[in-house]
């Protein structure tokens, strides 16, 4: 919210610097987000009187003698057509800074420092300035819009800094207003807060006016009171449309509002000053002398002031005359009843419209205005009443028309007076934890217009009518007291009245954390990717049309199509991560992500979907093989006391010869494999990429966190190596399983070499296994071990025709 200090000063005597005010407002909950200093780039420009002026022959340049009082008298050359002897102009002396303009004399191109120089051979020690060169425009200072020199008042003291004279010493605060304080979305609202922090009175602007006794045969009907709790109308006759006065134009310009005409400017002025959106209708355009506030009829049309036409629906609130909409309630007036130069009779509207109705209508139609922005934040009815009075006063003050006696006020609940509230002082202390001295409570609440009174434990207040945020609770009053008294009065204390509780992570959370640490130890970095992805990601991994992963939850309002679906698989994010890294020249990497996938029970969502914790592991780079990748799930298995088995499988996005389903306790819990060559080519990936995705939710209950000790054998283990010749088609898993199940003393069976040669034969391979036999109750003899080995070999020969090499 823009608040020029000079405007605030109309209501409060501000006797501290803008910096101090900024700090005080900050402590009270109003952060000044930006301080705009109007003349911050202008310096060294003083009032100068042209005492002599002669044109250099054959040029448009005049050589002037400029009297700058105590600063001295200087020769300054000037090309403006309005330079005259006896007139005062802004004189930028050597060293001064002003804006440099382009050839058009309007466009500002930067700040320049004035230097002494020569023009057509004549010395020039400074520059006489235009309004633009000082950063002014017509609305900010009359005459500043002129292309030539800015003429200063005759009584401007010679040699004085021009900034205060032309209003360039203005400081404007851009204040952040929290959503609970719509009453501060106005100059007067902020002035009340400034007055409260300074403990000074706040003066209400003049609201007086005289009615001329005229009444009208005019009706106002509110047919949709649920969307319009208050509607006030007042007629003004004998209106003379003219420009508004300079002071009003300047103030509007300071808060970013352009001047249009006296009537329109008054509505904008009241909006800025009181925070009350106003509208003025040309009353001659209101058919059958009626205003009807109602929901639009289906298909009804309105063309707003900016000449845009909208087709309406019953959820849109419109202001109508007897037959047609004449304004989109709270958003913009209709073109059919706008104020024209020829307007002579107007009807002012000050209303309160339901904020969500204004918001929804505005969003649905794509139409907005200062008024709608204001209504969306919430307008209080106090302002509705005061705003109308102020507008009528200004009409009279500006001589813009005669205020009639025709006044209509349709109110669902005519609240203008504050409501009383009694709260317990003890309760306030309990909330704040500190005892605020009674005199401080009274002083601060008084300053905030709460009219406080203390009797024993009872604090009675009158809630200011503009404070619709105040609920009937002690917490509200406690908040007002502490923000005004200051949070520095709070004494830190550490839960000394609270119960002792036991805290920490749940076993599930600990398990997930352990999983992450295990993967880190295995060389993988943790990743976090967005929970949403692109429909293209589903195509990228070649999911068939009927794949369950395609049943993803769609965002109704995604930022982009690429972030429009809730993830049903984590793999695409991991592939994209590899692509991103490789494109950036990172030739290898290992990452994992533990995140949720979202599986809807029904679409569109009517109940909570399943959020399933899923683990995705990715490794890319020349060093990676299927087996380096496999080490990651194996590390997890080892850490959690479970074992995985792997069976060859196919997935559309994975290499057909390097893909396996991961099983745990007979259930498929994941897939591991190498990214297919087709996808690599499509994504221009030249390094191998291995991907594992596991259903952590299914895996987690199988993870055994209990540790049980098995007594270790007193007898030494015996080691044997077996080199076996097997058919190429036999897997390591099958052979290992056959060996392991044939002797109960075997505690380890592990492959350590695979070898192929002509001698071994076509379609055959030699596999060398490491066997460990661990005795339980006696030391093994060599014969015993040989017996076991023979048994194993017999079984392998019988099952798979495997021979010893």
């Amino acid at each position: 919210m823009l608040a020029p200090i000079s405007w605030l000063k109309e209501y409060v005597d501000i006797d501290i610097s803008p910096k101090e005010l900024e700090e005080k407002l900050f402590s009270a909950g109003f952060e000044v987000e930006e301080v705009v200093e109007l003349g911050k780039d202008i310096s060294g420009v003083v009032v100068g009187l042209v005492e002599e002026c002669s044109l250099i022959p054959d040029t448009h340049i005049s050589v002037c003698k400029v009297n700058c009082g105590e600063k001295g008298t200087f020769q300054i050359c000037c090309g403006a057509d309005n330079v005259r002897v006896g007139k005062k102009f802004p004189a930028a002396l050597v060293g001064a800074t002003v804006y440099a303009t382009a050839k058009d004399h309007v466009t500002i191109e930067g700040v320049m420092t004035i230097k002494a120089g020569k023009l057509r051979g004549e010395e020039s020690c400074g520059m006489l300035c235009s309004g633009v060169e000082l950063g002014l425009k017509e609305e900010l200072y009359p005459g500043a819009g002129y292309m030539g020199l800015l003429e200063l008042p005759d009584d401007a003291p010679l040699g004085e800094d021009v900034k205060p004279i032309v209003g360039l010493d203005e400081v404007i605060f851009d204040i952040g207003i929290t959503a609970n304080r719509p009453d501060c979305q106005s100059i007067l609202g902020m002035a009340r807060e400034v007055a409260a922090v300074l403990k000074k009175p706040c003066r209400l602007p003049d609201l007086s006016y005289n009615e001329n006794g005229e009444t009208l045969d005019f009706t106002v009907t509110v047919e949709a009171p649920e969307l319009c709790p208050r509607y006030i109308a007042h007629a003004v006759n004998n209106v003379k449309i003219a420009p508004s006065p300079a002071w009003m134009q300047r103030r509007l310009a300071l808060v970013g509002c352009s001047a249009i005409s006296n009537v329109v400017d008054i509505t904008n002025y009241v909006l800025k000053e009181f925070g009350q959106p106003m509208h003025a209708f040309d009353r001659r355009d209101l058919k059958d002398d009626a205003i009807v506030v109602r929901r639009a009829k289906e298909g009804e049309e309105i063309t707003t002031l900016d000449e845009k036409t909208f087709t309406l629906k019953p959820e849109h609130l419109v202001i109508c005359d007897r037959t047609r909409p004449v304004a989109l309630a709270g958003i913009m007036g209709g073109l059919n009843s706008e104020i024209k130069d020829s307007t002579t009779q107007i009807l002012f509207e000050a209303a309160k419209f339901a904020r969500d109705s204004v918001r929804k209508t505005g969003r649905a139609l794509g139409q907005s205005s200062d008024s709608s922005a204001r209504f969306e934040k919430g307008v209080d009815e106090f302002s509705t009443v005061m705003g109308m009075r102020r507008a009528l006063h200004l009409m009279e003050e500006l001589g813009a028309g005669e205020v009639t006696s025709y006044h209509v006020d349709v109110a669902v609940n005519p609240v203008v007076q504050g409501k009383p509230l009694v709260v317990s002082l003890k309760r306030i202390q309990e909330i704040l934890g500190v005892t605020v001295p009674e005199n401080e409570i009274l002083r601060h609440l008084e300053a905030l217009s709460f009219e406080p009174d203390i009797r024993g434990d009872s604090l009675s207040v009158m809630m200011p009518p503009w404070r619709e945020d105040i609920d009937n609770s002690a917490a509200d009053i406690a908040e007002e007291i502490i923000r005004s008294w200051g949070y520095e009065h709070i004494t830190p204390r550490f839960l000394d009245k609270a119960h002792v509780t036991s805290g920490g992570r749940t076993p599930e959370q600990k398990k997930a954390m352990k999983l992450k640490n295990v993967l880190c130890r295995a060389g993988y970095n943790e990743s976090i990717f967005y929970s949403f992805f692109s429909p293209k990601d589903l195509d990228m991994i070649r999911l068939p049309e009927d794949a369950p992963e395609r049943r993803a939850i769609r965002l109704m309002n995604p930022l982009t199509e690429d972030l429009s679906l809730m993830r049903t698989t984590l793999t695409p994010s991991m592939i994209n991560c590899a692509v991103r890294n490789l494109r950036r020249g990172n030739t290898e990497g290992r990452f994992f992500e533990l995140a949720r996938i979202f599986l809807p029970k029904a679409l569109p969502l009517t109940e909570y979907p399943e959020e399933r914790q899923t683990l995705c592991i990715g490794a890319f780079g020349d060093k990676e093989t299927f087996f380096t990748a496999k080490a990651a799930p194996e590390a997890v298995a080892k850490a959690f006391g479970i074992s995985f088995t792997y069976q060859k499988a196919q997935r559309p996005h994975l290499h057909p010869g390097m893909t396996a389903e991961i099983l745990c306790g007979g259930k498929v819990v994941g897939v591991i494999g190498k990214l297919s060559y087709e996808i690599c080519e499509e994504l221009a990936i030249e390094k191998p990429v291995f991907l594992t995705e596991m259903d952590y939710e299914a895996l987690s209950p199988l993870m055994d966190e209990k540790m049980r000790y098995q007594p270790i054998s007193k007898f030494p283990a015996e080691l044997r190596d077996l080199a076996l010749v097997a058919d190429e088609a036999l897997t390591c898993g099958e052979i290992t399983e056959a060996i392991a199940s044939s002797c109960k003393y075997l505690t380890r069976v592990s492959l350590f070499d695979v070898y192929r040669s002509e001698a071994i034969g076509e379609g055959k391979k030699s596999m060398a296994f490491n066997l460990v036999f661990t005795p339980t109750d006696h030391e093994f003899t060599a014969d015993e071990i040989d017996k076991y080995v023979q048994k194993i070999l017999k079984k392998l020969s019988f099952l798979y025709q495997i021979t010893l090499r």
Binding site: V434, A498, G523, I528, F529, R580, Y608
Partner: protein, 341 residues
Amino acid sequence: MKEKLEAIRREIEEGIGAFDSSRALYEFRKTFLDNKEGKISQLMKGLKDVPKEERPAVGKTINEVKEWALALFEETDRKLHTLELQRRCEAEAVDVTEPAEEGTVGALHPNTLVQNELIDIFASMGFEIFEGTEIETDYYNFTALNTPEDHPARDMQDTFYLSPGFLLRTQTSAGQVHVMEKEKPPIKILSPGKVFRSDDDATHSPMFTQMEGLVVDRGISVCDLQGMLDLFSQKIFGEGVKTRLRPSYFPFTEPSVEVDVSCFECGGKGCKLCKGTGWIEVLGAGMVNRHVLENCGIDPEEYTGFAFGMGVERIAMLKYGINNIKTLFESDTRFAGQFRD
């Protein structure tokens, strides 16, 4: 016999210095001391040919030579072994400045590092960790948190909707209500999780992580809130860090405050990090609004509480000096490699 002994002694003395390995020395030793073939053993065997009365004296002399030889060989062997180890070490010497063999260790995400730190702090204060769902209903995310549909605060957060009643939670506060519906005071929970807002620029990401804390018990006041925040700030940002509360607004707390910590980079003097103010905004907090308690079936006359919420990425960015939030979600190896537990 004497001569023979003398010859053996000389042979040993002259020959023993010629060996550079224990093994060669052992072979030489065998020529004298082998139990069967050794020259000294042979002499022992020849003792039977010596006249009986001389035998003790000769035997003694042979034994003396044998003892002498044994000692000499042992000593020489020891010297040789030492020498051998020395040579082996010389041969094995490495360039210690060559790079280590790589056994890479991965890193946790900075968010997790910060979360772990926060969880440790709050768990020690007795907070349980609760993780809610990322997809929430309009009721839990807004209405139950005192933000009815027409509330202007809904505009404070741009929400991703999934269906008319379901949305991506915009705040972890949504979890508060679930907990308070199930559990009765005393409640102390810390609720980390991903949250979503339709914002996307250099300082905003459409997904980020929040950490929400909630305490509901008898006699909880703003003083407790500040006390806990002081403790927390000092643990996470360092001793001597101060906190400052200033009025703010959240629909689900009243009074509501914005919490700043004194700048841990410059100690409050003003620097680039704190934009010259000496303070850094780190979290929002307040006393739980009575309507929220009522909505969860907790009597606001009996219980009070406070809640606070912070952006985990913000803390991570402040702590580690990360300047763009987007890098946190890109998993660039050069980024990931810079963090450690």
